[in-house]
Structures are given as C-alpha cells and as structure tokens.
C-alpha cells in the first residue's frame, strides 16, 4: 500500500470545527454530559487543547490590523511524522508506523508510561488515567482500510482538508502554494513535506508558519536521542562491570591472606 496523507489548506479553512466533531463521532470519543463540565475558553477555540478524547482541534490566532484582523486557523492533530519521537520513545513497541505511513498506538501494547506524551515535540499523544493508556489520532485506519478518507476529511465542507496518496498531496500542496503566492500571500509556506523526514499531514500556512502557530524546523528532542543510547549503554556498562569483576575474581582465586599478606603489620 502506498503512503497516504492529509493535505490541510489553511487558506480554505473557515474553522467551522466540523472536523473536530466528525472525529469524535467516528471514533466515538465522548464529551462530558453535564453542563458544568464545560468552561468558557475566552476564545472561539474550544476545546483549547488536545486530549485523550480530543484528537483534533482547530486553533485560532488573532493578529490585529487597522481594519479587522488576520484570523489564522490551524489544524492541530497528530502530524504522523516519519521521524516520530513518540515511536522512538515508546519502550513497548506500542507505537509504530503502519504501511500507509501513519503513526498508530496499539492499545494492547500501551503500558501508559507516557514517554510518548513527553517526547512528542507537538504535545499530541494524551494519556487517559482511567485506562492508563495513551491516545491520539490514528488517521482513521479503519476508514482507510475500506477505501475512505479519514473522518475529519470526509466532513470538511470547504475542501480545506483533502486526502490521498502522499506524493499527490505534496504535489497538490505545491500547486496551491504557487496559487496563493501568485494571489498575494507572499508569506505562504508548506509544512510537513520535509519536516521530520516527512509528515503524513501536509500543511499550507498561507500567512507563514509562525502566524499559524506551527513550530519551524521541529526536531525529535535531543534527550530522546541520548535516551535511545541508554539501553545499549546500560547493557554495556553492566557487561563491563561483570567482566571486570570476573577478571578480579579470577585473579583473586587461590588468594590466601596469610601467605600473601607478606607486609602484615607487626605490633
């Protein structure tokens, strides 16, 4: 199976949040049933953060202008990186890349250690205390397996979200970038084409990455790289210790204090 990707075109997004609701509906992610559970977010952005039961949100950023504002929207959900920190951090192999390039969590294998939660440069995976498991977008593998686009894409009314084979999405993004640049959006940039060795969500940020709240040049955290060395290193350290002590043990074989302690102090 070829690699697939979502293309999110921020210049076409009206932040209707249809994707947020469609995601919850398809993946059956419940929201609290009582009025008091919901808080005023002081923004049109709601919920404010991703959560174990919120795998996608649209973010709203305002930049003041003389007349009106610039209202910059962004899709915040798993980026499905090729160089995925969460996968590298996961000690159980619960997080892996599936054939179409998506990064998925196998809940059977997840032990709730939250290493991925703390490793993702975007803060995507979220831990659910009740089940001691971690959750995030899985690019609707069940829908993909049946030849359908992910739930969020299926509901998008404006065409801001499209889905297909990754090379086609990258090409579409490139075409769109040229279009919006020609139309005057000179700060427009693509995201996800090369970042972290290529994401499986491609973005057009027509007002520039920072304006839309995207992290420029994201990296798998250095500590994860170090940390990846820890297991071999600890193995090595213990082996060396054992080895050293073994040699010492062999050297001490047949040691006899009285015969060897020739310089024993005399009173």
């Amino acid at each position: 199976m070829a690699e697939t990707a979502i293309f999110y075109d921020a210049s076409k997004c009206t932040a209707c949040k249809g994707c947020q609701v469609a995601c919850k509906q398809w993946n059956q992610l419940s929201s609290p049933l009582t009025a008091d559970e919901f808080e005023f977010t002081k923004s049109y952005q709601s919920p404010l953060e991703l959560a174990d039961k919120t795998w996608i949100i649209i973010t709203f950023a305002e930049v003041d202008q003389d007349i009106g504002i610039e209202w910059n929207f962004m899709r915040n959900a798993c980026f499905h990186c090729t160089d995925a920190a969460c996968e590298q951090a996961c000690p159980t192999g619960a997080i892996s890349h599936v054939e179409n390039g998506a990064v998925v969590i196998d809940q059977e294998k997840c032990i709730g250690c939250r290493y991925c939660v703390n490793s993702c440069p975007f803060g995507v995976p979220k831990w659910r205390e009740a089940e001691n498991k971690t959750f995030k977008c899985w690019l609707c593998q069940d829908r993909q397996a049946n030849g359908r686009s992910p739930g969020c894409v299926g509901t998008c009314p404006t065409g801001a979200l499209t889905f297909g084979e990754r090379p086609a999405m990258v090409a579409a993004a490139q075409t769109r970038l040229d279009e919006v640049k020609a139309a005057g959006s000179d700060k427009a940039e693509l995201y996800g084409v090369d970042e972290l060795d290529g994401m499986h969500v491609i973005f057009l940020a027509h007002r520039g990455l920072e304006a839309h709240g995207l992290i420029r040049d994201p990296q798998v955290p250095g500590s994860i790289k170090f940390w990846q060395l820890m297991k071999p290193l600890s193995g090595l350290a213990f082996a060396a210790t054992f080895g050293g002590l073994g040699i010492s043990f062999l050297a001490s074989m047949g040691y006899d204090r009285d015969s060897n302690n020739v310089e024993e102090v005399e009173e």
Binding site: S30, A35, E39, S46, G68, F73
Partner: protein
Amino acid sequence: MTNHWVDIKNADVIMAIGGNNAENHPISMKWVTEAKANGAEYIVVDPRFTRSAAVADTYGPLRSGTDIAFFGGLFNYIIENEKYHDEYVKNYTTASWLVSPDYGFDDGLFTGFDDASGKYDKATWIYQTEGEAPWDTSETGAFSWVNAPNTPAFTPPTPKTPLKDPTLQDPNCVFQLMKKHYERYTPELCSQISGMPLDRMMEIWETFASTGEPGKAGTILYAMGMTQHTYGSQNVRAMAITQLLLGNMGMAGGGVNALRGESNVQGSTDMAMLFHIIPAYMATPVAGTHPSLRDYLEKETPTGGYWTNKPKFLISLLKEMYGEYATAANDYAYDMLPKLNGKNHSHIAMFEAMNEGIVKGLFLWGQNPAVGGPNCSMERKAMEQLDWMVAVDMWETETAAFWKAPTIEPSEVNTEVFLLPAAAAYEKAGSIANSGRWIQWRWKAVEPPGEAKDDAEIATEIALELQRLYAEEGGALPEQLTKLTWDYVDEAGKADPTKIARAINGYTVADNKLVANFTKLAADGSTACGNWIYSGYWNNEDSMEPADQPTGARDNADNAGEGLAAPIGSYLGWSFAWPVNRRIIYNRASADPAGKPWNPDKVVVEWDGAKWLRNDVPDFGYKKDLPDGTTLWTPPGTTAFIMQPEGAGRLWAPGMADGPFPEHYEPYESPTTNTMSAQQNDPAVVVWESASLGSKEQFPIVMTTYRLTEHWQTGQMTRNLPWLVETMPKMFIELSPELADEKGLVSGDNVIISNNRGAIKAYALVTSRFKPFDINGEIIHQIGAPWHWGYSGSCSIGGIANDLTPNVGDANTMIPEYKAFLVDIRKEEV
C-alpha cells in the same frame, strides 16, 4: 436564492453582506473557495470580523443597520462612473419607464405620506401610460382560458401601455429619478453614517461594480443581517437594484441569494407558513377586500407577466383543498378559505394579541419563541395568558417550559401545556427545499424513538379527529373542516408522504393522472394542485417510488446542454428545482437581446439563430411543442423578467409600503441622528408600546445578534448534544478592547447587558474582531452576542440575547429588528 449553491462557483465577485456564510452556511464555502481558486474576489461586509471575513479578500466593517447607506452610495458610484451594464439596464430593467410627474421625494419622505395613519397613499407612485392593451380573450388569443366553461367569471385587468424613454434622458424616467435620489449618497456621507473607512468602502464599491462589465458576474449572499431591520425589505430591494444595474440577475454566478438558515425554511415559505400568503405566494384573502372569488381574482390578478395565470393556480389549489365539494357553482368553495380581518397577524402582532387575551391557544411546531422571539421576556409573559399550548418538538424547549422560566412562578400559570415528541429529520420521509429551491426527497433512515411521531402523522391525526368531531358534534362553520380533503393516508390510515407529494404536484381531476407541470393547470376545475410552483416535482405516473420521481432524482453528472461546449454546474438530473427544474431564475437576462450570452464561457441559455441552446431550463416561453410533433422555437425578445407585470426588472418598486426607492433611515434604536434626511426612522413602521424603546443617552452601545457555526437557532438541537456544546460551551458577548478598557472588563468576566426590555448575563470575550466605529464624527461602540442560549437544555444554559431585542417590525413584512438595537453593559459585581 435566485441562483443556487453550486452556482456561486461561477461568480467573478462574491459579496457577503448581512450574512455570515462561512459560519452559518458552511457548505457555501465549498463553492466560494472554488470561485476564489478560479480568481474570484470575495468581499465580506459585516459589523464584526467573522470567520467569513477571515477568508475574504476584502473586509468592510459597517455599523449594524446602515446597509442602505452603503448601497445608496454604491448606486451613486455606479451611475456617476457609468459602471452599469448599459445594454442590460436599457433592455431588461424599468430604467426607461416614465413615472408620473406627481411622484416625488423630499427630505426623507416620498409623496403621499399621511402622518395620521403613518402610511403612504401610493396614488402618485405610478408609471406614465398611454392607451390600453386589453387581454386577448378570443378563442385563438393567449387568454382564451378566461372564457372557458366552468371558469369563474371575472373581469380581466386592463394593461396600459407604458411610456418609456430608451435614451434614459427624460427627467421622469426611472433612471433619472434614481440618479437624482442617490446623488445625495456621497461617499463621505455614506462612510460617516456606516462607519466604514472611506478608502475601504470605495475599494469594495469599485470591486463589486467591476461586474457591471458585460460578461462579468457578481453574486450577493445575504441572510438575516439584511432582513431583520425595520427597513429589511428595502435592504433586499437595494441588493436587487444593484444586481439589475450591474446586469448580474439571471447570470451564472450572479443573482440575489438569500441563504436560508434552516434546512427547510424555503419549503415552509413555499408552503405559506406565514399569515399573509396561501401556498405558492398568493395573497391570503382579506374579508373586506376579497369577499368573493370574483373580487379576489380581479384584485389579485396582475395585468401582465406569468402571474396572469393566478386564477388557474388558485382554482387548482381550491380543487385540491376541497375536492369534489369545490365546484364552479359554489365558486370552488372560496367561501371555505379563511379570510383575514385586515389586521396584521405576524409574529409580533400575534404575541401582542396573546398578551391582550385575544389569542387563547398556541400551537408550536418546531418553534421556540421564548428564546427566538424579539423582546422575548415579554413574549414569555404573554404566554401566561394562554389557556393552552401544544408544543411539538424533539426536546422540552424554553417555550414548552415557559412556565419554568427563571422569572415566572409556575403556580401562577394556568396554561395547560402539551408536549408532543417529534421525529427528527432522519426519522421521517418527505421532501425538503433548500435555499437554491431544490426540492430533495429525504428517505427515512430509522424509526423515531419512543412515542415520537412524524409531523405529518401528528397533523393527520389531529385533522382527522377534528373532522370526526365536527361531523359528529357540529360547531361553528363545520364545513371548513368536514369538506376539507384529507386523504393523504395509506391503507392503514397512516400519513403517507407520497400522497401528499402527489397532491402538491397536481393532477387532472377527471382521470386522476399527475400533471407534467403547472403549465397544464386550468382555471375551470379540471385540475387540482396543492402548490403550483412545485408542480413537476412528482409527475411520474408510472411509479410512486420517490427515487423514480424528479424530486428523488440523483444523477450527479454535470452535463453540458446539447450544442454547448461546457456545463455550468446546473446538475439538472439532481433533484428538482422550482419552478420547472429551473436552476437560475431570470436566466433570459444572461444573454443579450439577440440571445447571445453575455459570457460565452458560462452559457445559461443561447439563441443559435434557430433554437435555444440550454444549460438550464429557460425562464420564458422558449418553445412550443406543436400537435404535429414539431417544435416551434420562440425567437429572442426582451421580456427577461416574466414574473413582473413590467416584464422587466424593477429599479423602482411602487409596491413597497415605505417607498419605491430604498432610503436610509436609522434603526429604531440608533446611536446617532440620521444625517441623510430629517426622517430619523422608516416612517411606515408600526411600533407597539411594549417595545420599550430606549435612547442613546441611556444606552449608548449598539448591539447585534447572530448565530455561530457550532450552534443552531435557539440551541435545542445543539445545546443538548455534548459534542457540539464542547465546541462552544458558554453564552458570551463580544466587545472591542477599547470598550473593554472603558468598562474595566477582561475576557472571562461576567457582564450584564441591559436595556429597557431586559438584562442578561454573559461572559465577556474581548477581541479586536470588534472595533469602535467613527459615526458622524463620534466614536460608537458595537457589541454582539449569539442568541443560542436559554434556560432549557442538558449541557449548556445561558442568557437569552433576545430578551434585549426590540419587537419592532419591518414596514413591509413585520420581521423584527433583531440586528440593530441599543444596550449598556457593566461588569457583574460578585
């Protein structure tokens, strides 16, 4: 919509004004983005920076209620700079028509205003005419049907030949009158009134006026921000005039497009869920004006245009309503039709009558006026006077629970309330009409839960029981019910939507065969039809399966018409659009008088010299199928607006209650003085005392109300759904940082918003999307709030914005002025 959703993609310029299409009609953006990708400009004019504005190419802020200043200035700009589509205006509009020299306008008042009654005498609002051109009712004439046997006797109206000046130079021609009227609307004055910065206003005018170039198309998308004003009808007129001047009516990508805010509100209007019309936009008879059928036909049948067929439509409607009982001898049971008493019975008036104890019972069908009505705390109080109320809804709405409202003591309410659980959209079958007039059949997916029932079933049970009771026990005028046709049931006696569809489409009475469309209807009692504009949507006699009927057609191929190079997104094989599957109304105007399309790339209809090539169903009698099997093609003429007696688009509309030209007045509660004339408000508006109007000294802040993508109407369908509540959890008001500073507020504060009609609580959302306006040299603040919240609902309750809106209605339609009123705000002291 004169056009339809898909057609938005054909526009060169899209202007959303008085509507927030991205948020409230999300699917519109599918086509707006497509148009934009093809190079279209998208303009958003709105008091606040909306999610539509976020994706617009140009945004123009405008103080609520000053649309006519904006449009009047635009007319002035178009005329002065000769940006209008000259050939179109001369041929297809009333620009050249001469108006009576007695007509005039002075300092805010048109001629004929009577101070005492607050109404206009429209005697001077007439065209100059010469001679008469009576209907040809001879045997071979176009109006021979008037003399057909069994046709009710009436004297046909006598059309007069209008005087015109094709050069548009006569000072009394509509064009010159218009020029004179709008010369007063200078850019500076319009900017001062509306608060839109002059440069931005000029930029928008220039962009939109660019569609006056032949072949270019501009569309206007609007909604309640246009209509919910005391001059809302004039706002709509202003858009129509704009589109006529620029030659955008009838064009692919043009038109005046009302984006309907509910899935079937178009259908409910078509079916006359309003007091002043009967199905398919015919006037409700008034006892004093139309005591007999002859009176009705003589007064309501226009001199020209397609509405001259009104007698056919009315008689067919009566035949459907009263069946065999309706005969030529009893004037087709015209007496059975309820007549108005000459009083207004619109929403506001109805609640006034309730308050006075005149209206004793209230049947609510998916309505929630306790949250949605204007000045609705007063409406909730009025409901206390009721003897009974029946609410048919999916939830216990605030109205059904009005006796539990925070300000009402349940033990003091004597109203008996019945709540009938209703089926949801997917739990019932039937057709719904969308904004683009597509009547689409919707199949039932699941059975309704519990005791919930389909609306048609509820109506049928009630109707049949009433018929039985009147038949058995008698009562006042029992025939009105006992003679009423109600056979829309299956063998089991359950309501059958396909039978209703059949009745709506119409059929010939003698053989009970469906008619092809409304051109087959007659005024002699030989046809029955429940709603003539729908006729043709269910005309397949061979199968009663909805999928086999035009309304159930689901061919999603966009085919080009025969002989045409490219399609225009008409999708004629997908459902049925009224009338006669026409997707763009007035589409004759998309081609020049010789029938050559203004835009050869987006042909709607085209005369190729011998016949009409069609990407849509032409909006005129374009051919005749002769008995010998041949077709007689109608060569091009200039009658592009067949629904108007003039046959031309009206730049000057003498039928309006408050003047033939839109004139700027201030909202009834305004923060400023009208600088356009001495008339502060629309003079033809009726104001009830209960509106408790406030002054700008007491309440200096302008407020408007609106909806959010995340919620729907009064919130019952959304505030009970956690997934949706989560996306917009609480009632809030939006205000500018400047006003917040002045009032010592920050986002998240609890504020109280108040005026003479009430006080509500909400969270403050401080945002630069709201900015103070510079109005006539003064800084005026505007705030806004959604009206989705109330006191019923499982997941979120909150302040009712409509407790603050005034129950003052439009001079023509009585639609309340929800969109512009005055308030004050303060921080809630805890």
